[in-house]
Amino acid sequence: MRRRWANAAAIFCTCEGIAAVADGADKTPLSFQDMILTLHAYWAARGCAILQPYDMRVGAGTFHPSTTLRSLGPEPWNVAYVQPSRRPTDGRYGENPNRLQHYYQYQVILKPSPADLQEQYLGSLAAIGIDPLLHDIRFVEDDWESPTLGAWGLGWEVWCDGMEVTQFTYFQQMGGFDCKPVAGELTYGLERLAMYIQNVDNVYDLRFSDAVGDVAAVSYGDVFLENEKQFSKWNFEVADTDTLFAGFKAAEAECNRAIEAGVPLAAYDQAIEASHLFNLLQARGVISVQERANYMARVRDLAKGSCKAWIDSQSERWTAKYPGWML
């Protein structure tokens, strides 16, 4: 292969800048729900199955079994979903414009990670109205680790004008097991992105939905302000700690029974339950520093045990379908 350059031609850039966002800047920014619908359409068009939220209380979209368990094993897996996420200690009784004990994550899992994952992701930002020649998008090192899931990955937090809008991770391990192949995970912080796009300073002022005809628009506060007040109070002051401790123990025992019985999906539900009860106990301030590490180790054991049981239950099928695949 040989390529000759007759002479040093004038040097100029021949490629075109990235396509600007389609309809100009004066368009009304997307409402919260339209942002979600746009992301659904965007990822559906790229082959993702659009799943629904998992029907349990979880701390992040990563806990959804469609991420945790499905990131293990050789089978391709491309999904997107919204996951309501609960972080009891982040509650502020509805008084802080940026902090919530319940919020939404938009989660995309692409396994194996495609070569153009970054480009696909940037396309999704453009789709919801972020012009990368007007806004400074950056990939800043941020390695992800979840001690309670025994998981880690490398990637970035994606900045938009200095604000973190997405966690972008290439999963390397889940439940202590290598991800083979590696899945790419995108976790969008929906409220933050929406606040950015809609240019509001208080999360409760977000337009959740637009007015249609004589049906009025709904704000994020209309939907969630009362929830934040009541759940902050319950998380921090009301929740009965004896019940929570008992629930933790029960979930732990049930998880182990389910692992024994060879129903890892059910076992994993109990691991999620234990993890959330632990978070509530933390919010109630009844777990000392010393005990904290102990509880986290117990949750990790449940998650790892569930992952292992999941692998055990599937590996025969996996190796039959993908000869040569090994954990």
Binding site: M1, R2, R3, R4, W5, A8, I11, F12, C13, T14, C15, E16, G17, I18, P74, N98, P112, S113, P114, A115, Q118, L122, D131, P132, L133, L134, H135, D136, I137, R138, F139, V140, E141, D143, G153, L154, G155, W156, C160, D161, G162, M163, Y170, Q172, D178, C179, K180, P181, V182, G184, Y196, D201, S288, V289, Q290, Y322, W325, M326
Partner: protein
């Protein structure tokens, strides 16, 4: 001679790893080429977040042909030896040279095309590349053998002269094409050779030279501040980090609400720097002003207005968080955070931080009483008690780097004495200055050292997980910077005594003998002192010579003596006296136990002269040492040099007359004893 260009393009490389990656690329490239027999002259290595690039100027077209000579068996050796040699070299017997009865094989290796060497070197470099953390990706990652890189590797450009160096790694083939700036020029661009690489990229909004980007940020940030009548607070670490985050850096000035300036400047600077990678700026009064400089990676179509507005919003949210912590923390006096230290545990079995606060307090008060009698033990106790309280505050929980600094602000706001404020502020620096700060810092570090040593947990080799060496070094620095006269052994024993008063801690200690712990720690300090003083040019053997006397645990006095000794050893008197000492010590060693009675009077004039000199020098040296006039002590020793030289010249120690011999051995023993009164010369090298 031909130039070579290599570009390894990937997804964003963490900024902090880029300098190391450049060094690694250079090392591996040189190693690969030198293994193939190619000289690599000047290499240019560049990095951006998305690429590592290397240009090697003036490589030869091919490696030189080499002729390798191998020595074989003697021609008289048994046939098996010859057969083995022929097998090894792949030659026949008639191709060997017989030189004086020894076979030699001469193997000519033709030169190899450099392009071929490079085509093998590139995949080898990529596979051998060591990153602080690396990962797998894509469908290849289904196999354990898949390539690892810091983030997915997306392209390789390898051009030798104007020719492609065809090679492939994990499905990625080298080519002429790369990509420009992610947003300004996302399409493919074709590189012709090493010589047009940088300029082609520049035309596509990528400044490949990291140093040029650093200069743009350094100068641009300063200018952005100056244009607004402000002064940039320089921060080279931020310059390098931002250059590692951008391919087309554009520094932009932003503002924040002046109301945030009521928060301590350290907090604002840390928030801006650590969380957002912004520079901060000072106003005309030299104080922190309500501005910052961020570094964008685009030439925004609106000149950066939106980018600045967005960054201002993020910083405002961060600063209101910080102000929230500041106000929350100030709502209660610093002392009220002490109970929260109870649930913060130190290393297993060493109790809580609350208990440590009490120990620091007690020991700091004791140090102030013992060694700073004119000062204020009450304040030392108070400062010691409060030293760790800020670890329970919201601000330090959020910004652990501000430990100490926040404590001092909260102490100041709470009306604590200036000594306490200063003690809290300085407690984590190496050399802590001032009475109260020194008492607290020494108490803190001695407590740590005593507990770990009494637990028999000590640094080994390169492992020092609890930073005990640093604690010892900082103790030394603090003692010396203040010229504090204290007895380290006594201090350790006191610290041990305080620790064992706590039952739970005592149960976990292995060594309950405080005196023994203090001896071990003194050795540890001696080692640290030698390392620390090496930079100041102080000889380690002289430190040993003084430590070997035993009992010296006052570092200030010890160093004064060592320094006087070092000055003395640099004189002719010193070196001669050392020679005389070694000779005397040898003779005494050989003599062993002396039997017989010594003569009553000096047998000769030389004996009498040495005796007289000793009679003068001994008390003079002893008095000088007692009064810490170490130069005087050296002078007293110097007065022995001429008599000892004359003695060795004039007499024979091992005189046939047993009484004379015993007398002279006695004299020598007094001589070495007099020298030992100042330093153990047997430890001195030379």
């Amino acid at each position: 001679m031909t130039d070579f260009l290599l570009e390894l393009r990937s997804e964003e490389i963490p900024a902090r790893m880029q300098a190391g990656a450049r060094a690694e690329l250079e090392k591996l490239f040189r190693a690969q080429l030198s293994a193939a027999g190619l000289e690599t002259g000047d290499l240019t290595i560049w990095s951006t977040p998305r690429r590592l690039a290397l240009i090697a100027k003036g490589l030869p077209e091919a490696t030189a042909a080499v002729s390798e000579e191998l020595k074989g068996p003697r021609s008289s050796a048994p046939p098996q030896a010859l057969e083995g040699f022929l097998r090894k070299t792949g030659l026949t017997q008639d191709q060997l040279e017989d030189r004086d009865g020894v076979y030699f094989a001469v193997i000519d290796k033709p030169g190899r095309a450099t392009a071929d060497v490079l085509a093998e070197a590139i995949p080898a470099i990529i596979r051998a590349f060591s990153w602080p953390k690396s990962m797998r990706w894509g469908k290849e990652s289904a196999s354990s053998e898949s390539l690892r890189w810091v983030r997915p590797l997306s392209g390789i450009v390898a051009i030798f002269g104007e020719d492609l160096v065809a090679c492939e790694v994990s499905g990625i083939s080298a080519g002429f094409a790369t990509r420009g700036h992610r947003f300004h020029c996302p399409g493919e661009i074709t590189i012709g050779s090493a010589s047009d690489y940088a300029e082609k990229l520049r035309a596509c909004h990528v400044i490949i030279d990291h140093e040029e980007r650093q200069a743009i940020i350094r100068d641009g940030a300063a200018k952005a501040a100056a244009d607004a009548g402000l002064t940039l607070v320089e921060d080279e670490g931020l310059v390098i980090e931002n250059a590692g985050l951008t391919e087309w850096p554009v520094p932009l000035l932003g503002r924040f609400d002046t109301a945030f300036l009521e928060v301590p400047p350290e907090v604002i600077q840390l928030t801006a720097r650590v969380n957002q990678k912004y520079f901060v700026v000072n106003g005309k009064d030299g104080k922190l002003a309500n501005g910052f400089v961020c570094t964008a990676n685009i030439d925004a179509v609106d000149g950066g207005k939106e980018v600045v507005a967005g960054n201002e919003k993020v910083l405002a949210a961060r600063l209101s968080d910080a102000r929230f912590f500041w106000e929350q923390d100030l709502a209660h006096p610093l002392e009220s955070y002490l109970p929260k230290l109870e649930s913060m545990l130190l290393y297993e079995g060493m109790g809580s931080l609350r208990e440590k606060a009490d120990r620091i307090s007690t020991l700091a008060g004791w140090i102030a009483e013992q060694y700073f009698p004119e000062r204020d033990p009450d304040t030392a106790r108070r400062a010691g008690l409060l030293a760790k309280a800020d670890l329970a505050t919201g601000m330090v929980g959020e910004f652990p780097e501000l430990q100490g600094v926040m404590g001092s602000y909260y102490a100041e706001q709470g009306g604590e004495k200036p000594g306490t404020v200063s003690a809290l502020q300085q407690q984590y620096v190496a050399a802590v200055e001032g009475c109260i700060p020194a008492c607290v810092a020494l108490a803190d570090r001695i407590d740590t050292l005593t507990l770990f040593f009494a637990r028999n947990i000590k640094p080994t080799g390169s492992r020092d997980p609890f930073a005990l060496r640093r604690a010892a070094l900082q103790t030394i620095q603090t003692v010396l910077v203040n010229g504090t006269r204290l007895n380290l052994k006594r201090l350790v024993q006191k610290s041990h005594e305080i620790a064992v008063a706590n039952d739970a801690i005592r149960q976990n200690l292995e060594n309950l003998d405080g005196a023994a712990v203090s001896v071990e720690l003194l050795d540890f300090f001696a080692d640290r002192l030698k390392v620390q003083q090496r930079e100041a040019g102080v000889r380690h053997d002289l430190i040993d010579a003084v430590f070997a006397l035993g009992g010296e645990d006052d570092l200030v006095r010890l160093l004064a003596r060592v320094k006087a000794l070092q000055a003395f050893m640099a004189t002719e008197d010193g070196t001669n006296l050392l020679a005389g000492y070694k000779r005397a010590a040898n003779i005494l060693k050989q003599a062993g136990e002396v039997s017989g009675t010594a003569a009553a009077t000096p047998p000769t004039d030389a004996d009498a002269a040495l005796l007289a000199a000793l009679d003068t020098a001994e008390p003079a040296a002893a008095a000088a040492v007692a009064e810490e006039r170490f130069t005087g002590a050296m002078a007293a020793l110097a007065s022995l040099r001429a008599p000892i030289d004359a003695f060795f010249d004039g007499v024979m120690v091992n005189d046939p007359d047993e009484a004379v011999r015993a007398y002279r051995l006695g004299l020598l023993s007094r001589f070495t004893g007099a020298v030992h009164g100042v330093a153990d010369f047997s430890k001195i090298e030379g």
